[in-house]
Symmetry: C2
């Protein structure tokens, strides 16, 4: 099994990793830190499509299909590995497990997209934010056991706002509400959940 050619880079917090019209056909993988995919609108708005954690592929869909145009930015300082697209494709054909991994990633992203569409279309502010927080918590927990319901959480309120389609002002108010109701506290780059059941009730998508 040939080792794939890879090339590393590190990007500082807040800086661009990939822009909408990136021509190159490479596969980027997040090795450490947090990042996010987003679409930049000309009127200054931006929609965050998904947050990326270590191990995530920046654009799994782009491996087999052209023309996904979104940008990606580093949320914290990150390390990114760049693989040649063609090598990845031949590797997929050769190794069933690699292929499966790519499909799993594609499936996760698709499911997350549909959930986000549903949340944005059908849920009020509180429940949108609860859903985002719980989704992230689950993914963080899958990466390593977390003591005590305290999760590392590098997002600013503006990121939450851009992810769930609200203003940062409104996000601030909703988080204040959560704090008053003793559901969770978000401060100091840490998310502490005090009432996980309540959070799940709000985030539920049934």
């Amino acid at each position: 099994m040939p080792r794939l050619n890879q090339q590393f880079m590190t990007v500082k917090a807040g800086h661009q990793i990939k822009c909408q019209s990136e021509a190159r056909d490479d596969v980027l993988v997040l090795c450490s830190g947090w990042a996010f995919r987003y679409i930049q609108l000309s009127d200054g708005g931006r929609q965050i499509l998904r947050f990326l954690l270590p191990g995530d592929i920046f654009s799994p869909a782009a491996i087999f299909s052209k023309g996904m145009s979104f940008s990606a930015k580093a949320l914290t300082e990150v390390e990114v590995s760049r693989l040649d697209g063609e090598e990845v494709r031949t590797q997929c054909r050769a190794d069933e497990l690699v292929m499966m991994e790519v499909f799993r990633s594609l499936g996760d992203n698709g499911r997350a997209s549909y959930e986000l569409i549903t949340v944005l279309g059908q849920r009020p502010a509180e429940r949108r934010i609860a859903h985002l927080l719980l989704s992230l918590i689950r993914r963080i927990a899958a990466h390593g056991e977390i003591p005590d319901q305290r999760y590392p959480f590098p997002l600013k309120q503006q990121h939450i706002a851009d992810a769930v389609g609200l203003t940062s002002v409104h996000v601030s108010r909703v988080l204040a509400l959560f704090r008053e109701r003793n559901i969770l506290t978000l401060a100091d780059r840490t998310l502490q959940v005090t009432d996980p059941a309540a959070l799940e009730r709000l985030a539920a998508l049934n």
Copy 2:
């Protein structure tokens, strides 16, 4: 090249084609009529994820990845072809072109999802509706040349509402506005566009 086993069914307008927890691992293809994918919420709300036109696969992602759970309904009377999942997968491995077709479909759906997320998160009612209408127009036009900017359009206002995350009452008001401004008229299962440029301006995602 072996002909795939297929089995046809027709479903009347408004009836279920596939439900969220469909266990069977088959590939459904829409042969005629319109349908839509959606997620049903327990509180009565529903989010329409995508409208399907003839030739569309109900769940391209499900071919290679488990656990996409949405339902599908017929919008008009439809004909659906059912293929065995396993046969489709072996066919994909055998025939590069079939594989490419599936990837194209996956890519289209992914792109559409990201656009919908952006529209729902960042755009007000008018622009959401404009975006939906224009997307549909483009797809209809791709299916056969259309004279005169008059498009067949089987959606009720409730469908538009569930697709863009608004109430049907508000959809009605926005459509009235479009009519007053001579942008388009929606009546009688036909969509007539009188000012395509204005529609594109509203629908634009830049």
